[in-house]
């Protein structure tokens, strides 16, 4: 790690929830949301937490944002302990979540943003000038007098972004900020994030997402998190470089029948390193990681011998999703579900 001061620092953070539903009446069942997460994010970095739903990303961001206490371990923001120096931390941070519905529907965009800015102690003159600038930047200046109950999801999220950034925070937490947005609105949001970081090189941004492309496009570094643990932490380029010795193909084939014997599974074909299969209505999607291209004919022959004709084939450069599959053994869009261990999320 460089000598740049750390904006975010966690050491062995665990978060365990007690939930109802134990085997006996009144018995508490535990749920391990975070299991010893240690991270260091230097000031000025756009850091990503990438993982499936239920991986523990939001829990970590809420601990850092002082909304939750860790069960054990320490977490610091701007050098301040989030457990004991809560007020000082809150003066420095802000958070925007995807699908956020905060605000009062009967107030206008401008009024809601004024209200939230006052919660941070900003004076009216500062609010007025910053609001006008930021509303123009995100393209909602002409909607400033619209009641927020009349805004679309995309416009509402742009307003949320202004709320998050108007207080001039040192550290910003973005929790799935493009969740539920259409392509254009999501691109606008990503553009805003990139521009803000470029204009404020001393500020830090922690982003959680389960969109690979978003993490790849935005993050200086990212950690892949699953079942409450950080699996790896590096730049997107370095993570993808790990897979350059592999050859990755994406295949669409006619629906694959369930294998009847071990030798029928695709993994059994020589040269196949890993396979993930996603069954769709009319076809199956295979993501193949091979030792080399020479292994492909055997795979196709294997599939054809089991009645699954090839519909399309594409060779791909490694992506973060491939990194995730290599590390976790399943696709990112498959939610985390732990069964039978009492460690469900």
């Amino acid at each position: 790690m460089s000598s740049t001061p750390l904006a975010i620092e966690t050491h062995d953070v665990r978060r365990i929830y007690k939930i109802r539903g134990g085997k006996r009446k009144g018995e508490a069942k535990t749920l391990i949301a975070l299991d010893g997460v240690s991270l260091e994010v230097p000031r000025g970095e756009l850091f990503g937490l990438l993982g499936p739903n239920g991986a523990g990303k939001t829990t970590l961001i809420k601990i850092l944002a002082t909304l939750l206490l860790p069960s054990s371990g320490t977490a610091k923001v701007d050098g301040l302990d989030v457990t004991t120096q809560t007020q000082e931390v809150r003066r420095r941070i802000s958070m925007v979540s995807g699908g956020e519905t905060s605000g009062f529907g009967l107030l206008t965009v401008e009024e809601n943003l004024w209200m939230f800015a006052r919660f941070y102690g900003l004076d009216n003159k500062t609010i007025k000038s910053r609001l006008a600038e930021m509303m123009q930047m995100v393209g909602i200046y002409d909607r400033r007098s619209t009641k927020i109950s009349d805004l679309s999801t995309g416009l509402r999220q742009k307003m949320n972004f202004i709320r998050g950034f108007i207080s001039d925070p040192s550290v910003v937490f973005l929790d799935e900020p493009t969740l539920g947005l259409d392509v254009t609105a999501a691109r606008d949001v990503r553009g805003f994030v990139k521009d803000w970081m470029a204009q404020n090189p001393d500020r830090t941004l922690l982003l959680t997402t389960h969109y690979m492309a978003e993490a790849d496009e935005l993050c200086d570094r990212l950690a892949i998190i699953d079942r409450g643990k950080t699996l790896i932490c590096d730049t997107p380029e370095n993570l993808k470089r790990r897979l350059q010795s592999e050859t990755i193909f994406h295949l669409k084939i006619q629906p694959l029948r369930k294998p009847t014997s071990p030798e029928n599974v695709v993994e059994a074909v020589p040269g196949v390193r890993s396979v993930t299969i996603a069954d769709q209505t009319d076809f199956s999607e295979l993501r193949l990681s091979l030792q080399g291209e020479e292994a492909l004919p055997a795979v196709l022959s294997h599939l054809s011998g089991r009645g699954s004709g090839l519909l399309s084939l594409e060779k791909r450069e490694p992506t973060l999703e491939d990194v995730f599959i290599q590390l976790v053994g399943r696709r990112l869009d498959e939610d985390t579900n732990l069964n039978g261990t009492g460690e469900e999320r």
Binding site: L67, L107, F116, R118, G121, R130, K147, D195
Partner: protein, 285 residues
């Protein structure tokens, strides 16, 4: 979006009393603007419904030939129902609504004190309700020719102010209690709405319930507040009062301090529990 480039200087953020003041008025704003400008339909429903109940009680008293001052008692009680409804539905239940709407998380995340948020809700709620109460009082007083003989204006103002402070302090405390209870807030509000009309003597002198019931009901500030105001508004009817006005003023003062302190304590506890258990502050998705 265009490129991000602000020309305004870094935001200077107030702390301490200034932050408290700004947070309080910011949270009061939606209520004041909402009730006076944006949602005038609120005014109609929150005025007409208590007005209808008040009128029906007046007719009952007139039909049974009750003393004339009873009409005044009912009119005052009817006006005060607006405050009770506001406490239940717009104070006690509000943090629960705010949690469901996603605002509670923003309140907790911001440096603005939660006590200032609640006080802002109370100030906004008071402004919102005082207009309804005034309309009910004026309309009914004119319609039924109620005669007021005020024995002490300063004491009347003092009793009203203390009643409001204690009442909204209780509402602030209830806001934390309702949220902590984990139940649907409207069930609790429903549970408390009608029984208090009876226990606090909204439409009759609370003394009629007997000393011990009236004493227990005095925990609700409106009980003593209405009793004191009735004694001061209808001179010569102190015999119908529960306690002397001076004693009632002292008790209301104690209740004010108690409820505000309890609200502050409950809020601190609520935030602690919320952060520890992670289920009070976060909204259900």
């Amino acid at each position: 979006m265009t490129a991000f480039k602000t020309t305004s200087p870094p935001a200077a953020k107030a702390t301490g009393a200034t932050l408290f003041w700004r947070t309080m008025w910011a949270r009061a704003y939606p209520r004041i603007v909402g009730s006076l400008i944006r949602e005038r339909s609120w005014l109609f429903f929150e005025t007409v419904l208590p007005l209808a109940a008040t009128v029906s009680y007046v007719f009952v008293y007139q039909a049974v030939g009750a003393p004339e001052e009873y009409v005044g008692f009912v009119v005052l009680g009817g006006a005060m129902t607006a405050f009770w409804l506001n406490i239940l539905w717009a104070m006690a239940s509000q943090l629960y609504w705010d949690k469901e709407g996603g605002n509670l998380e923003i309140y907790v995340l911001s440096p603005g004190p939660l006590m200032a948020i609640l006080l802002g809700m109370a100030v906004g709620g008071f402004v919102m309700t005082v207009t309804r109460a005034a309309i009910i009082l004026i309309v009914c007083s004119l319609a039924f020719s109620v005669t007021y003989t005020i024995s002490s204006v300063p004491l009347l103002i003092a009793i009203f102010v203390l009643t409001m402070i204690a009442l909204y302090g209780m509402g602030m405390m209830f806001a934390a209690v309702f949220l902590a209870s984990g139940r649907e807030a409207w069930h609790l509000a429903n549970l408390l709405q009608e029984p208090i009309y009876l226990a606090s003597g909204f439409y009759f002198p609370v003394r009629a319930l007997g000393f011990w019931v009236a004493a227990a009901s005095s925990l609700i500030p409106l009980t003593l507040g209405m009793d004191g105001m009735r004694q001061l508004l209808f001179a010569g009817d102190a015999t119908l009062g529960f306690l002397s006005v001076e004693v009632e003023a002292i008790i209301l003062l104690i209740l004010s301090v108690f409820f505000l302190a309890a609200a502050r304590f409950m809020l601190t506890k609520l935030e602690e529990i919320g952060r520890r258990e992670g289920r009070l502050i976060e909204r259900r998705r």
